[in-house]
């Protein structure tokens, strides 16, 4: 791999959602600490997986990275530009280069728009085509690229299946010829056999168009399959980040170990033999996260230190990063 500048740099990104009370004047009484001091980079052509369970903040990271939410603190730089300080034309340029694919194929398409309108929206917003005819041709090209028949260009979303709608969403994300795509749980809502179709499509497009992905998911098996590196989040913080085989074969953080041991394996013999680390209790609330290491309340190997001091994010060698006092 070249030592060129990474395409995406996320530097101590923090996002808190304020909780307000008040009738006429809103006072802030607390905050949902959804994302706290998250840092990672993504090289060109790479797929970085971001995994964690519900409430860990991975979706918030994705959306804040694209400046869909303002950041509370920290920086996100995409292709050399800081996304949160960009305005006007600069922001529009970033939006062209960085796109998003959403989880819910039913909610992410405007039900009153035709497929043509949906896919061509980026073309219109960024003025990429000279006239209607050119635009329509481009939409048809995109539809073919994602495996949809161009005949269906004037249909409405409700006439398609979930997998097909997801393809429409992908075509829309590709329309502006982006460099970077945040895939926010793109296959979670799809049937197993369709998941494979969509994942294969994403890989093929990456090869053809030189795309870079941030792949947000909770399905650890799928993440192992398509990502080059994987980051694990828990309650708003990154706990581990490593090259994929290194993470799956040599997890250092107790949460990662437990998470991996909980993933079902479609193999009865392997399932019988595996040693499971079952965590007790539920995930604490991000409004009032535990002090020190956020995982210490459920950690099987926690020490006193863990409830007092937040562990540092360290490279344990070979770009294997962990935030744990015991690692």
């Amino acid at each position: 791999m070249s030592r060129a500048e990474p395409l995406v740099v996320v530097d101590r990104l923090t996002k808190h959602f304020p909780i307000t009370r008040g009738i006429l004047i809103q006072r802030q009484v607390g905050a949902v600490q959804a994302v706290d001091q998250v840092s990672f980079t993504i090289a060109r052509g790479e797929t970085l997986g971001l995994v964690g369970e519900s409430g860990c903040g991975k979706t918030t990271v994705g959306r804040t990275a694209l400046a869909l939410y303002p950041a509370t603190s920290g920086r996100v730089v995409i292709d050399g530009q800081d996304v949160h300080t960009a305005r006007g034309r600069d922001l529009l340029a970033i939006r062209r280069k960085a796109q998003m694919i959403f989880q819910d194929p039913y909610a992410s398409l405007n039900p009153r728009w035709t497929v043509n309108a949906i896919i061509s929206e980026p073309l219109r917003v960024h003025r990429l085509c000279a006239n209607d005819r050119e635009r329509t041709e481009r939409v048809k090209d995109l539809m073919q690229m994602v495996g949809l028949s161009p005949r269906l260009i004037n249909r409405f979303p409700h006439e398609f299946s979930g997998g097909q709608r997801q393809r429409i969403g992908i075509a829309r994300a590709l329309a502006s010829e982006p460099l970077f795509i945040v895939c926010d749980e793109p296959i979670s809502a799809l049937d197993v056999s369709i998941q494979a179709q969509v994942v294969n499509l994403l890989e093929e497009l990456q090869g053809r168009l030189g795309l870079t992905y941030l792949f947000i998911a909770h399905d650890l098996s799928m993440v192992r399959h398509i990502c080059t590196r994987v980051a694990v989040m828990y309650l708003g913080v990154l706990v581990e980040l490593a090259e994929r085989n290194e993470l799956y074969e040599n997890p250092l953080h107790p949460y990662t170990q437990s998470l991996l041991s909980a993933v079902p394996i479609p193999d009865p013999k392997a399932a019988r033999q595996r040693r499971r680390i079952i965590l007790q209790g539920d995930v604490p609330s991000p409004i009032n996260p535990p002090a020190g290491c956020r995982f210490h309340t459920r950690c099987p190997i926690a020490l006193d230190l863990c409830s007092q001091e937040r562990p540092a994010w360290r490279d344990m060698g070979g770009e294997h990063w962990v935030a744990c006092h015991r690692a």
Partner: protein, 318 residues
């Protein structure tokens, strides 16, 4: 089981990979559902007839005739020459209801448009931008809510009386008070719509396809007009329809109180006003305009009901 163990069952997904012919479009489905409302269909027919009556009837009866006074023929009951009778100065009531109808219906429609414009604008801005703009606009809305329509009318009437010039519209010369009445009704009834639109905007704004539009870089104006507004047409259409009826009713009692459209321009409402002193002696004087008001308002309400059911996406009937 203490609570029914019947789970909500989603009917199996029914999508084929490629469809030979598109299934019913939203518009077709809506029309189908509307058709099932018999009263709504009746309503449409009656409204159509009323429009025909007021605007088509004008082709048969001239305005001069409607304004032609003949004191010798005052307060005559319905007859062959005057099927609806005559009023206090001998004008033919039938003809006056025709021309009066034009004004009443015109007021209904244009007041609705004024209301629509203000209500949607305020509701959309408040709902989309939220925070201080929302607070400001909603306090303003509540303030206007509190002002009684009548009060405003009296003030307006005093202010404008004698000062409004006549206007020419559709080949007719009308008292300027028509415009005043339209503006007042419009300006005092937009609040309901604003609230509805605001609520719709707040809920639709959180949907993922809006986030997708923002991610694409679509500017706010296009999001509001192109994405959100088309998705809340249903409550807007229903509200607009019903507000036509409300406007016509408002005009009726405004005019009945003498604050509305001034003579000699007739409306159904001010005809009722004129009939006030002759309730028993000349029942035909108030009966026919009253009947027309009732028919109009009722049928618009039926149509509004039908539209509400037809446009409700949760209705599973086809």
């Amino acid at each position: 089981m203490s609570h029914s163990s019947e789970a909500a069952i989603a009917l199996p997904q029914l999508k084929a990979d490629e469809l030979e012919a598109p299934p019913l479009s939203l518009r077709q489905l809506t029309w189908r559902r509307f058709r099932r409302h018999k009263m709504a269909i009746v309503g449409i027919v009656v409204i159509a007839l009323l429009f025909l009556y007021s605007f088509g009837g004008a082709l048969l009866v001239s305005e001069q005739y409607a304004n032609y006074t003949d004191t010798a023929a005052r307060l005559q009951p319905p007859s062959a020459a005057h099927p609806f009778g005559t009023d206090t100065v001998g004008r033919d009531i039938l003809a006056r209801t025709i021309y009066g109808g034009q004004i009443s219906l015109l007021i209904g429609l244009t007041a609705m448009l004024v209301e629509l414009l203000i209500g949607v604008l305020i509701g959309a801005l408040a709902g989309y931008y939220g925070r201080w703009l929302d607070a400001l606009l909603m306090r303003f809305t509540e303030a206007v809510f509190v002002i009684p329509q009548i009060f405003l009318l009296i003030v307006m009437a005093k202010f404008f009386s004698g000062k409004m010039p006549n206007i020419t519209l559709l080949g007719r010369t009308l008292s300027g008070s028509v415009v005043v009445v339209i503006l007042i009704i419009g300006a005092t009834s937009w609040m309901y719509l604003a609230r509805i639109v605001r609520a719709e905007f707040i809920s639709i704004k959180e949907r993922e396809f809006i986030l997708a539009a923002r991610a694409i870089g679509t500017p706010a104006r296009q999001i509001i007009l192109g994405h959100i507004l088309p998705n809340c047409m249903a409550p807007i259409i229903v509200s607009a329809t019903l507000s036509v009826a409300a406007a016509i009713l408002s005009e009726s009692y405004i005019s009945f109180l003498g604050m509305g459209v001034q003579a000699p321009t007739a409306t159904w409402g001010n005809m009722l006003d004129g009939a006030m002193n002759y309730i028993e002696e000349a029942p035909w004087y108030w009966f026919f305009p009253g009947l027309l008001i009732v028919l109009t308002v009722l049928s618009i309400n039926f149509v509004g009901d039908g539209l509400r059911d037809a446009l409700d996406p949760r209705s599973r009937a086809v």
